[in-house]
């Protein structure tokens, strides 16, 4: 072994290097010492400790228990006439429930799915009955609420919804057809409790 094994154990790592550069070839690997091992393990433990102290302060910003507990919303849908739509709140977000006309369903089916940006057929967008379309009313671009729920509001080029913020147009199946939004309007988790009541969430 080389001379630096004789160095006193107390020498600091940096001194160790200096010493070696002076005496040795200059590029030979320093032999790991017990001290190096202690440095590494103490450093690793320190990093874990710092991380575990930081985590509660980071995680407190995540949704709190009461926010997450805002469970489900039940909506009676019997009174929604064909061609009408209602907006309900779920988890602080609007949900669009649309009672589609046969013409709207036909339009939604008439599209060649392979030409769409977010490729989904109409049958992947509704549950049980094609008359009822339930989507989260938040544009997948930057979170605005699209227009098209009320009569007289602009519905865009595809007769579904139109986002006024950056001009995204959705079709009668809530699929993105034009504009900057990357995805179709999201379909929330929901189920029919009866023929006239749905539960969202």
């Amino acid at each position: 072994m080389s001379s630096h094994e004789n160095l006193p154990n107390s020498s600091h790592l940096a001194q160790h290097h200096d010493h070696q550069d002076g005496e040795c070839c200059g590029h030979c690997e320093p032999e790991p010492t017990r001290r190096d091992f202690l440095f590494m393990t103490a450093g690793a433990m320190g990093a874990i400790a710092a991380g575990s102290v930081a985590w509660p302060f980071i995680s407190q910003m995540n949704p709190a228990a009461d926010v997450k507990a805002m469970a489900t919303t039940e909506v009676p849908i019997a009174s929604i006439q064909e061609g009408q739509a209602v907006t309900v709140m779920w988890r602080g977000k609007p949900v669009f429930i649309r009672h589609r006309t046969p013409k709207e369903i036909e339009d939604a089916n008439a599209v060649d799915v392979s030409t769409l940006r977010d490729k989904q057929s109409d049958s992947e967008r509704f549950k049980v009955n094609p008359k009822w379309l339930v989507v989260v009313g938040i544009c997948t671009h930057l979170g605005c609420v699209p227009l098209g729920q009320k009569t007289g509001e602009m519905k865009g080029d595809y007769n579904g919804w139109f986002c006024p913020c950056h001009g995204s147009a959705y079709d009668t199946s809530g699929r993105i057809r034009k504009g900057p939004a990357p995805q179709n309007l999201h379909v929330p988790t929901y189920s029919f409790i009866s023929d006239t009541v749905i539960r969202i969430g």
């Binding site: 910003m61 926010v67 988890r91 977000k93 671009h141 930057l142 979170g143 001009g167």
Partner: protein, 439 residues
């Protein structure tokens, strides 16, 4: 900062303090006799003006916070109470509201000054980086401050901007919910924005301290871009530049006061006097004017970037826009390494000068289209050729990035500068001679 050799003060109290903590010696060294190039023009006022605005914002902000309630149920009403019932509340709020705009005006001019006269070049790169950091922190602070009144623009601006982070693949949604503390912008969001809006200005004060410290190590740049060589080139900071800064400040504050007292809402948006409503998106969401150029860059990328003739998308339009917007700030950070031309001042770089002024025009143009609805037609030639605001923002964005990534590196190698003066003193004399012969 350091305790160097000290000249005793005549006043016994000052001397007693200074011999224990040489703070008066330091003030005299850094702001009294500090050698400063003698050829500053009025562009050199804006650092001091920005400093004044920072102090103004902190003082008015703390007093507003004494009357503000950061919950969704009470925020809007508490701001209206400040406007109507709190003594001088209207004044303090209008100073703060317009102060944000005037702080940005000062900082934009200050940044332009740095670009025009090459103040970002060696040995001032770190000084410049601290400056851009301050600018970033200011943007974060201003954005969160705008959310606090909880009007329609507050709510929807916050929704649009926080949703930007959802563009990042895989972790996007988790990041956004972490920012919100829920599933949409709501009470937890407002609460934390208030806490951070209060904190960040003090972080800015810290970075300003580093910025000024670095400035006092390298010394100021000047309009000629030539470093001072002898005592002939400099003047003591006091009284020459304390007075010049004071004069510039008075002019600036006069204009600021005109806005506060005669047109306090001219720079704001009327929709923010409608209480926030998560169910109704305003017809046209616009950020505050100082964000418009960056907003235009965000909206300019409305196409997916992928492999041509396939469906493979590498960067979705939304992510592309976000990357372009953050990239536009990153360009400023990289500027000292993109522009390696040995001459600092644009006075002696005719091509750079034109390129930079065009860049400024492009930023103004981006600001203009950023405030207009996306895709609204500007020029028609029949039905086939329609030129829209989006096309304009795309062209200007191209120039924005082209300026940094193509023009600056190219000019660094190729641009032939005009003859550079021997010294600041020479530059000043030559100017005088020219103006005399011209007259």
């Amino acid at each position: 900062m350091s305790a160097g050799p000290r000249t005793p003060f005549g006043n016994p109290v000052v001397e007693w303090v200074d011999s224990r903590l040489p703070i008066f010696t330091m003030i005299n060294k850094e702001y009294g006799v500090f050698p400063t190039p003698k050829n500053f023009n009025y562009f050199w006022n804006f650092g001091a003006i920005a400093m004044f605005m920072l102090v103004t914002m902190i003082v008015t902000g703390i007093t507003l916070a004494m009357n503000y309630a950061a919950t969704t149920g009470a925020a809007f009403d508490s701001v209206e109470r400040i406007m109507r019932d709190v003594n001088y509340g209207w004044l303090i709020r209008y100073i703060h509201m317009n102060g944000a705009s005037f702080f940005f005006i000062a900082v934009f001019i200050h940044i332009f000054r740095g670009m025009y006269y090459g103040s970002f070049k060696a040995p001032r790169e770190l000084l410049w980086i601290f400056g851009v950091t301050i600018f970033l922190l200011m943007m974060a602070t201003a954005f969160m401050g705008y959310v606090l009144p909880w009007g329609q623009m507050s709510f929807w601006g916050a929704t649009v901007i926080t949703n930007l982070f959802s563009a990042f693949p895989l972790v996007g949604t988790a990041i956004v919910e972490w920012l919100w503390g829920g599933f949409s912008v709501d009470n937890p969001t407002l609460n934390r924005f208030f806490a951070l809006h209060y904190l960040l200005p003090f972080v800015i004060v810290g970075v300003v301290f580093l910025h000024v410290w670095a400035l006092h190590v390298s010394g100021s740049n000047n309009p000629s871009g030539v470093e001072p060589k002898s005592a002939q080139d400099t003047l003591p900071f006091h009284p020459y530049y304390t007075m010049k800064d004071m004069f510039g400040l008075v002019v600036f504050v006069t204009i600021y006061a005109i806005f506060i007292f005669f047109m306090p809402n001219a720079l704001g948006h009327p929709d923010n006097y409608i209480p926030a409503n998560p169910l109704v998106t305003p017809a046209h969401i616009v950020p505050e004017w100082y964000f418009l150029p960056f907003y235009a860059i965000l909206r300019a990328v409305n196409f997916d970037i992928g492999i041509p003739f396939t469906d493979i998308v590498i960067i979705e339009a939304k992510l592309g826009g976000v990357l372009a917007m953050f990239g536009s700030i990153a360009m400023l950070f990289a500027m000292p390494w993109l522009d390696k031309h040995p001459v600092r001042s644009a006075r002696y770089r005719p091509i750079y000068r034109v390129a930079l002024l065009l860049f400024v025009a492009a930023v103004f143009g981006l600001g203009k289209v950023g405030g207009m609805p996306a895709d609204s037609p500007l020029i028609h030639f029949g039905d086939f050729f329609i030129f829209t605001t989006t096309h304009v923002s795309q062209l200007l964005t191209l120039y924005y990035f082209g300026f940094f990534l193509a023009l600056l590196p190219y000019l660094s190698k190729r641009e032939k500068p005009l003859p550079i003066p021997e010294s600041i003193h020479d530059a000043v004399l030559k100017n005088k001679a020219n103006s005399v012969s011209g007259a």
